[in-house]
Each structure stands twice: as structure tokens, then as C-alpha cells.
């Protein structure tokens, strides 16, 4: 497991295009919003938590198809499937690597971009907390979507269509935590539900994703 984790992390870092691309996309997306809605700071401050969450979600989406596609093409996924490590664990490690290379950088970058959008001060902390709690779920759901579409030649667009509706609950609770945090309201309920969604996703979806991968590798 550790070997797979280290190998995938090395590949992600050295092959490039992984987190650099996602982060730049996030930056550009956030920079485009004021051009679209105008530069009034109160308006930007009000919509900032939502924008940052949707931005993080879309940047996450960008690198999903790389979770399995490269390994599928060169056949190493077949080797992993026949390895003693259960396929569920492989999926979990792949999702973890995806989270480490996109979710974590996005979480760290979000407060900086929050400054651009004039996010009120306590909001930064809660934005980071909600992203840190929510992005693992995004990566895991994304790994499931990637496993579904791995056999397809041009699965990228289909992947987005399949994964985005599944992102709805995470987005709702994550953005709610960030919004309430920015407004200084009580936020225990959405925070706990967000954590619950994340944990349930992490606990259950590896099995669904591994089942799907087995079908695709038949």
C-alpha cells in the first residue's frame, strides 16, 4: 500500500500537469468571477464562499480522469488488480493520492483566493476547514466516476456528467459551512453533516468503485 502510494505520488509530481493545472484553473476561475459579476466588494464578499467551493469542485473534476486512465492504458491496473492488495485498497490509495495532489493544495490556496474575493476574516478559517473535510469526499466520488468511465475512449465529458450530480450534497453542506462561517453564524450542524457525508463516502464508495473496476477489467 505504501509502495503504491509513493509510486503514485511520484508519478503525480514528476509527470507534471497534476496539481499545478488544477490550482491554476482554480485561480483563473476565481479571477474570472469579478469580471462576470462586477467588482463591488460587498457582493463579492457575499458570494465568495460559494464561488470558492464551486471553483474547488470544478478544479477537482479536472484531474479525475487521470486517476485510473494512465494505469489502465499501460496495463499496470491489471497488475494491481491481480496483486495481493485488495482492489478496494487500490482505489482508496488512488483517491488518497488524488486528494493529496488536488484537495490539499486547493484547501491551502483557497484562503489566498478568498482575499481576492474580499471574504470576511473568520470565513477563511471555516472555508479551509470545510474544504479540508469535504475534498476527500470529492476525490472519492471522483474515483468512483473515474472507475466507471475508465474503459471509454473519450470518457472525460461523461465523467463530469456522472460525477457532478453526486457532488451535490457535499457542495451544499461544504458551502453552507463556509457561508455561515463568513457570516459568523452557528455552523455545527452543517459541519457535522459534511463530516458525516465525507466519512460515509470514504467508507462505502471504495467497494462500489472496486466492483466497477472489476467489471471494466474483465
Amino acid at each position: 500500500m505504501n509502495a503504491l502510494l509513493i509510486r503514485d505520488l511520484r508519478l503525480a509530481v514528476r509527470a507534471g500537469g497534476g496539481f499545478g493545472l488544477g490550482l491554476s484553473f482554480f485561480l483563473i476561475l476565481v479571477a474570472l468571477i469579478p469580471f462576470g459579476v462586477g467588482p463591488e466588494t460587498e457582493l463579492l464578499a457575499r458570494i465568495a464562499p460559494g464561488i470558492l467551493w464551486v471553483g474547488a469542485l470544478l478544479s477537482c473534476l479536472l484531474s479525475l480522469d487521470r486517476i485510473f486512465a494512465l494505469d489502465y492504458e499501460d496495463g499496470s491496473l491489471d497488475l494491481l488488480a491481480t496483486a495481493p492488495l485488495p482492489l478496494e485498497a487500490v482505489v482508496a490509495v488512488k483517491a488518497l493520492v488524488h486528494w493529496l495532489t488536488t484537495g490539499v493544495p486547493l484547501t491551502l490556496a483557497a484562503p489566498v483566493l478568498g482575499v481576492l474575493l474580499n471574504l470576511p476574516w473568520p470565513g477563511h478559517l471555516w472555508l479551509m476547514a470545510s474544504l479540508a473535510l469535504g475534498t476527500p469526499a470529492l476525490s472519492m466520488i471522483g474515483a468512483f466516476g473515474a472507475a466507471l468511465t475508465v474503459g471509454l475512449k473519450r470518457g472525460g465529458l461523461l465523467l463530469s456528467l456522472l460525477v457532478l450530480p453526486l457532488y451535490v450534497p457535499t457542495l451544499i453542506f461544504g458551502a453552507e459551512v463556509a457561508r455561515r462561517g463568513a457570516a459568523g453564524m452557528a455552523l455545527e450542524t452543517p459541519l457535522l453533516v459534511l463530516a458525516g457525508v465525507s466519512l460515509a463516502t470514504l467508507a462505502l464508495l471504495p467497494f462500489a468503485a472496486a466492483a466497477v473496476l472489476r467489471v471494466n477489467l474483465r
Binding site: L161, L162, P165, P169, V212, V215, R218
Partner: protein
């Protein structure tokens, strides 16, 4: 008594469906005609909503079938995963576009009804939003079926998507409740409190609902037959090419 699984035999299924279809289709036509004419022309206008209330005869039944269509797909997917009956997978595939259209009808009639009543075509109300999400789930499901060439792989993948999707659809349903308070009224019908809707509207509505149920069953039977025949045709063509 023969086991219900006998109908999993495609030949038997087609024969049974052929016998059932005229009846189900005919009854659906009768129920819809009676229900809609009764509802549209023979019930009084609501004292607050005027004649716009009559769109209920399309809106509620289609919403009912939108949800139950997905539920039927879930059951069919589970049967496919557990017992590997091809007819079941094809029935799920056949039901998806019908369910998607029902969802669309519910959304559109809801918008047309909402415009005079709430003064807006669309509001981000929990019920409306969850139907929009349901529609997206239908689209993804149909797209995944269409994208995969191998039939069994497609059946497996879409079945698992249907199960995971169901969980997330239910989750989204309650998440949107949390996210926004709604304009939409509560359940219009329930077993114990039929007084939600006055009796004049209630009975034609029941007829319309049974009409929609029958229509859904008829369409799914017909489309499943078509899917079975299309698959046979592909098999025949493949065999001819091999020969």
C-alpha cells in the same frame, strides 16, 4: 404456480408482454382520457387558484412516475446484479428515458403552474431542486448506457451507478431541505389525510395517476420488447458476419 423468474426468459417475456400490452395500453388511454377530461372540464375552479389548479392532473402523476421510475430501475438493477437476468437489465434501460421524460414533464408543468401562483417560473425550492437533480441523474444514467458498447459491461456499470445514484439522490433530497426553505406545499396526497386536496379534485387525480402508472408500464413493456429484439438482431447480424 410457476415462479415469477420464468418471465426472465426473453421469449416468455415477449409473449406475455404481447398479451398484456393491448390491455395495459388500452386501460392507460381510457384512464387518461377519463381522468383528464373529468379533471379539466368537469371539476370546479379552485376558489384561490382559479383554473390553474387543473395542471395538477399532469403535474402530480408525472412527478409520481418520475420517482417510481427511478425506483423501478433500482429494483431491476438489483435483480440484474443478483440473478443476472438480461430482461431485468434491459427493463431498467428501457425505463430510464421514460422516467426522464416524466421528470421533465413534472418540471415543466411545475414551472407553468408556478408562474401564476408564485409569480416565478423557477424557484430554488427543495422539491424543484431535487427534481432537477433527479433529472441530471437520469441523464447520466442514459449517457452511460449509450457510451458503453459491450452489453453486459454496460448493464453492470449502469446498475452500480443506479444504486450509488439512488443513495446520493436521497441524500441530495434531504440536503436541499436543509439548504433552502421551500415555496412548494407539502404532500398533496396521503393515505390517512385525504383532506389535503378536496374530494372534487381528489378522485379525478387518482384516475389520472393510475393512467400515468399504466402508461409507464405500457411504455416500459414496449421498450423492453424493443430492446430485446434489437439485441437479438445485433446477435444475428454478428453471427452472419462471422459465417
Amino acid at each position: 404456480m410457476a415462479s415469477i423468474w420464468e418471465y426472465a426468459n426473453p421469449r416468455k417475456f415477449i409473449a406475455t408482454a404481447n398479451r398484456l400490452l393491448p390491455w395495459v395500453g388500452g386501460l392507460a388511454c381510457v384512464a387518461l382520457l377519463v381522468g383528464l377530461i373529468w379533471g379539466f372540464f368537469l371539476t370546479p375552479d379552485d376558489y384561490r387558484q382559479g383554473s390553474t389548479v387543473k395542471i395538477i392532473y399532469l403535474h402530480v402523476p408525472s412527478a409520481l412516475m418520475a420517482i417510481n421510475g427511478w425506483f423501478m430501475m433500482l429494483v431491476a438493477s438489483l435483480i440484474w446484479l443478483v440473478r443476472r437476468h438480461h430482461v431485468s437489465a434491459l427493463a431498467a434501460r428501457a425505463a430510464a428515458p421514460v422516467g426522464a421524460v416524466m421528470t421533465l414533464i413534472a418540471l415543466i408543468t411545475g414551472a407553468i403552474w408556478g408562474q401564476p401562483m408564485w409569480g416565478t417560473w423557477w424557484a430554488w425550492d427543495p422539491r424543484l431542486t431535487s427534481f432537477l437533480i433527479l433529472f441530471l441523474f437520469y441523464l447520466g444514467y442514459i449517457a452511460l448506457w449509450a457510451a458503453i458498447e459491450d452489453d453486459d459491461t454496460a448493464a453492470d456499470l449502469t446498475s452500480i451507478l443506479c444504486i450509488v445514484g439512488s443513495v446520493f439522490a436521497v441524500l441530495s433530497r434531504y440536503a436541499v431541505d436543509f439548504w433552502n426553505q421551500g415555496l412548494h406545499q407539502g404532500a398533496s396526497l396521503s393515505m390517512d389525510r385525504a383532506d389535503h386536496v378536496a374530494n372534487v379534485f381528489y378522485f379525478p387525480l387518482l384516475v389520472c395517476m393510475s393512467g400515468f402508472v399504466l402508461l409507464f408500464v405500457a411504455l416500459v413493456l414496449l421498450r423492453t420488447q424493443t430492446e430485446i429484439r434489437a439485441r437479438r438482431m445485433r446477435a444475428l447480424l454478428a453471427r452472419e458476419r462471422m459465417a
